[in-house]
Amino acid sequence: MKEKTVIIEIDEQGNSTIDLDGFHGKGCADVAKDFHGRDVVKTSRTKPDFYMPETAGKRQRQQS
């Protein structure tokens, strides 16, 4: 199973990015929220894994 990782990058202008890797479904929203603090979210986009329900992901792995 792919490890769920959080990658945070912070630049010298005080901007940061949160990249969530290995998540499926809406579970990642809580993780992102943990790291928001009171920061202003400028952009937010989901990536293909987001639309894959976790159960479907497990089923696919079992079949392969």
Binding site: T5, I7, I8, E12, T17, L20, F23, A32, D39, P48
Partner: protein
């Protein structure tokens, strides 16, 4: 990968602001009720701040440099034109915000049980970028 967000740091937590200022080499004074900033001639200025770098830690012609909480709880920098001109400018404030965000992120990760996997400092054309990696238990 499932989510990607871009954020602008807001300095709201005094503890991490103080740590960031210390990392930059200053010993800030903390005055929860706020105190007036002192000008380069020893005069009291009308601005009040809760976190202050006394002028003696800056240039000989500097004024106190302060951070005051606004009504929303965000710390705003109070920096004279002279002090902005000698380097306490937006670039310095950005670097301060970078250290603040790093400290805050590490504390949040520890408190929430994320597993720290490493830190890298990446050189970019826009300056150094700090990358922090965590695993989810």
């Amino acid at each position: 990968m499932s989510k990607y967000e871009e954020l602008t740091t807001k300095i709201t937590e005094e503890r991490f602001l103080i740590e960031a200022l210390q990392e930059l080499g200053y010993q800030p004074e903390v005055c929860p009720e706020g105190r007036p900033l002192i000008g380069y001639r020893g005069d009291q200025r009308h601005e009040h701040a809760q976190v202050i770098i006394p002028r003696r830690q800056l240039d000989c012609a500097s004024n106190d440099l302060g951070f005051a909480r606004d009504s929303t709880g965000v710390f705003r920098a109070l920096i004279s034109e002279y002090d902005r001109g000698i380097g306490f400018d937006d670039g310095w404030l950005g670097r301060l915000a970078q250290i603040y965000k790093e400290r805050q992120t590490m504390a949040v990760a520890k408190a929430k049980g994320y597993v720290f996997k490493g830190k890298e400092v990446i050189d970019t054309p826009q300056g150094k970028k700090i990358q922090l990696r965590f695993a989810v238990r």
